[in-house]
Symmetry: C2
Subunit: 199 residues, 2 copies
């Protein structure tokens, strides 16, 4: 096989560990950084170092957090009495950026997936349990993804909330606003039909 010089090999190997990056892309990235954009390489090295040193997880909501006080766990948000559970940071950002919801969040950083060894412990559900038991919240909004695993997770979370007498809701799934029926997949359409409401 092709063997690059030691440092170049190490760089290509390190780039390959990024999700979605295969051997060819890793090579192309390494050449681009070394040949075309050394500033980008420098910025990336620096951003990685800084992030590793300063970005942790919020002890309450598990979102990535740089400061002592998580911006998503303020007293004002807690006062809303609402707690929204999402699978990942991007989901939190989508709700925060696309809706007017300003309650608290809980970021699972995954979904229940027994086959992959992801159970309640991996998702911090003991922490969620204590928050549900605290009396701070009167509604748990479940915003896990509408996949098989997301639905199983939602079911599990709903049971947890009910056991603490916290009301449970699930965000609605169906035909996207502006979507045309003929372009919507069958599963979504079936879900939309069975979830129909009287008007």
């Amino acid at each position: 096989m092709n063997v690059y010089s030691p440092r170049l090999s190490r760089l290509i190997d390190a780039l390959r560990r990024l999700p979605g990056v295969g051997p060819k892309s890793a090579q192309r990235m390494a050449f681009h950084l070394l040949d075309r954009d050394r500033n980008a390489a420098r910025s990336l090295a620096q951003a990685l170092g800084e992030s590793l040193d300063h970005i942790g997880r919020c002890p309450s909501c598990r979102m990535f957090c740089e400061d002592e006080a998580c911006r998503y766990c303020s007293a004002a948000r807690t006062a809303s009495g609402q707690l929204c559970v999402v699978e990942g940071p991007a989901d939190l950002m989508a709700i925060e950026g696309g809706t007017s919801y300003r309650g608290r969040y809980f970021v699972l950083m995954g979904r229940l997936s027994p086959l992959d060894g992801i159970g309640p412990d991996e998702l911090g559900l003991d922490l969620l349990q204590s928050q549900l038991a605290s009396g701070d919240f009167n509604e748990l909004i479940i915003a896990t993804n509408p996949t098989v695993e997301g639905e199983a997770t939602a079911h599990y979370l709903a049971e947890m909330a009910r056991a603490q007498n916290v009301a449970v809701s699930r965000i609605a799934h169906g035909v996207p606003m502006g979507g045309e029926l003929e372009y919507v997949d069958g599963g979504t359409l079936a879900h939309a039909l069975s979830g129909r409401r009287p008007v």
Copy 2:
């Protein structure tokens, strides 16, 4: 729009500067590194720093090079009298790994592309010129890609070599070994037909 905390935003921005990485992939990469694989993040930061500090270009062949003496510019290789021009480092590695060629190389790090501002200066052709004039070489093997720009570059290089009385050859293009005619694109097939040889 969604706004992440400052360091996380910087990390996502830095990842976006990698070729082929859009906003969604950059986000996914950042979350993966921070949440799942901090070792990979550490390795990448380190590999980038090391590479920037130690990887340069060989002053003779323009290949990436870490040491004083480029492994592709040895006296034994020069003694072959052959100089093979390729567009990029991956091309050099492909020839080195897939063939028994052990002559010298010259890596253009690009191809002539006047519209993109890439002319002879950007490809180090003055350096190639002096090597052709040195008397060290009796054959210039042109292995640029069979694209419009690669062909134009090949033509330009051939003229340079002829002016120095260095024999010129171009690697063969046609139907790949083991390829089936019906699956080969029309351009390749036309090239293969017009380049036919008596048997």
